[in-house]
Amino acid sequence: MLRRFLLRRALLGVLVLWLVTLGTFLLFFVAPSDPARTLAGRQATPEQVELIRHNLGLDRPILVQYLDYLNRLIHGDLGQSYFSGESIGKLLSQDFPPTASLVIGGAILWVVIGVGAGVISATRARSLLDRVVTFLALAAVSMPTFVVGLLLLYFLFFQLSMAGAPLLPPDSYVPLTDSPGEWARHLILPWITLAMVQAASYVRLTRGSMLDILGEDYIRTARAKGVPEGRVIYRHGLRAALTPVVTQLGVDVGTLIGGVVVTESVFGLGGIGQAVVQAFVSGDLPVIMGVVVLATTAVVVANLLVDITYGLLDPRIRLT
């Protein structure tokens, strides 16, 4: 059963991946960017531009280029950057760790904050605490990510350093393998930024879903048979209320792998998002394709994990 499910989802994932690469490829050729001309520089003769175009393989028909790309992709070769000539595999393996560290660490933080605040809000609905939490969540959605980041930098880095306690560094990324302590220290502010912005929607989601669930018959049954309130809320209620939260988490983590550009650039972490912005501006197709393939794979895998988690969380759901 599970094997068939996994097989079908894997096939679906490959289909999605194929469609997305096709779309990106077409989009690239619609765009008026011409990497050969950019690469040749201003003083290049038309012949030189033509030669570069030929060397990059850009003078072939689009279909041929696309099939060639797919063929190499199947063999695990993502090609080389037009500009630096570096292999995309190597580029991505440099840019992926900062992004993954940021997103995964941030996700843990925002789930803990968001779900925690949501449960508190739901179990004390209409209380002052609920109102404060709801208002803070509203304030957090009202703020752009980079403003949160810059404010944190101002208060927690700059003012703290001025006060003689430079506890948190402003930017840059330290690999986990170099020094786990430094890695975490450099990521604290980015994590908080991401978590503050994301947690808001999780508070609302958890609160709403929790209020629904707590009104269900089986919760009343549990209370009636004398299950302690804490156990009712966390073991019976929260477990079922988490389903929409997990869905949202899958979507968010998946899309953020390619889309934490803002947090990455505020804190100068490098990473996938910044790489793709640069590639788009300069018209570096292999880099764009590499990132798109990676980001899509992340979305597909995240959604698969979500579906598997459903079955574990809510016994009423069967994987089919």
Partner: protein
């Protein structure tokens, strides 16, 4: 007191009039202090934005004028807020107060126009999908799913790298990303509304599809669309600022809150006002819009949860009283 003592006109003293749902909603929102204050803030901000050229003419500071003598320190740094420059100056010695005001024009324009476009497309698509169902519904619904699950920033980057950053591109990108949320809600409502008796009645007297969609169904959709639209405006303003921050939105020297903040990024250590005032204005605006949206939702649909409800306040008071009584007893 006997019955005969009641004056016959006693009843007619109090006129009893039926109130439309909109009158009821208005009556509810009038008692909602948070929504009223937020609404007033929004109106005030819009007036200030409209009056920006007047204010600039009055204090004599053009938004692009560089005050090299008075607006910048000897080290070439921005100067702090003072009597001449209320919000201080920016890195080129320009008046930040005037630039924030002009930025409001752009940011509010983008927010309102993009959301308006999104509402138009969303309502149209949602009506079509919900009313006709079948293949049309399937295709349109899948389209909404795709738009809603797309990493929008990547999409925005792609569009801007093709079209170049501009006001139109910014509005287009935001509208493209926002319509699907409205379409989804409209579709759902239409699905249930089209089964109502009055629609059947309209059909039985020979009304066409278009008439039923726009004359019979559409007015009943206004409430959720108004609420969603009010809540999408602040989201659009945040979106604009993010795009401009990344250099993909409004291009300087035209000030928008996003590119003001983007410029301020390098100066946050030496000039708190450079970052602080645009950020505070932006936050005030989006928060006010969000609170107004919540207020309108509560007023239109009283079944929904209220953030600052009178009932909540009364409940709290009752609980407190009960506690006191118990303590006293």
């Amino acid at each position: 007191m006997t019955l005969t003592e009641i004056r016959p006109d006693a009843v007619t003293d109090r006129t009893i009039a039926g109130r439309s749902p909109w009158q009821l909603a208005w009556a509810r929102i009038r008692t909602d202090k948070v929504a009223l204050v937020s609404g007033l803030t929004v109106v005030l901000l819009c007036l200030l934005a409209l009056a920006a050229p007047l204010i600039a003419a009055w204090n004599g500071h053009d938004p692009d004028e560089q005050f090299r003598d008075t607006g910048i320190t000897a080290q070439g740094l921005p100067i702090a807020p003072n009597g001449t420059f209320w919000f201080g100056t920016d890195r080129l010695g320009r008046d930040l107060f005037i630039r924030v005001l002009y930025g409001a024009r752009v940011s509010l324009l983008v927010g309102v126009v993009a959301t308006g476009l999104a509402a138009l497309v969303g309502v149209l698509v949602g009506l079509l999908a919900g009313y006709y169902g079948g293949v049309i519904d399937t295709v349109l619904s899948r389209l909404m799913d795709v738009v809603l699950s797309f990493p929008y920033l990547i999409f925005a980057i792609a569009v801007v790298s093709i079209a170049g950053p501009s006001l139109t591109a910014t509005i287009g990108v935001i509208a493209f990303y926002s319509w699907a949320a409205i379409a989804r809600v409209v579709r759902g409502q239409t699905l249930s509304l089209k089964e109502r008796e009055y629609v059947e009645a309209a059909r039985s007297i020979g009304c066409g599809d278009l008439r039923i969609m726009f004359v019979d169904i559409l007015p009943n959709l206004l409430a959720p669309v108004i609420v969603l639209t009010t809540l999408l405006v602040p989201a659009a303003i945040v979106f604009e600022s993010t795009l401009s921050f990344l250099g993909l939105g409004i291009v300087p020297p035209t000030p928008s809150w996003g590119n003001l903040l983007s410029e301020a990024q390098g100066f946050y250590r030496v000039a708190y006002w450079y970052l602080g005032f645009p950020a505070a204005t932006l936050l005030l605006t989006t928060l006010a819009f969000n609170l107004v949206g919540d207020g309108i939702r509560d007023a239109i649909d009283p079944r929904m949860e209220r953030l600052f409800s009178r009932r909540g306040r009364r409940n709290r008071r009752d609980r407190r009283d009960r506690r006191r009584r118990r303590k006293g007893a």
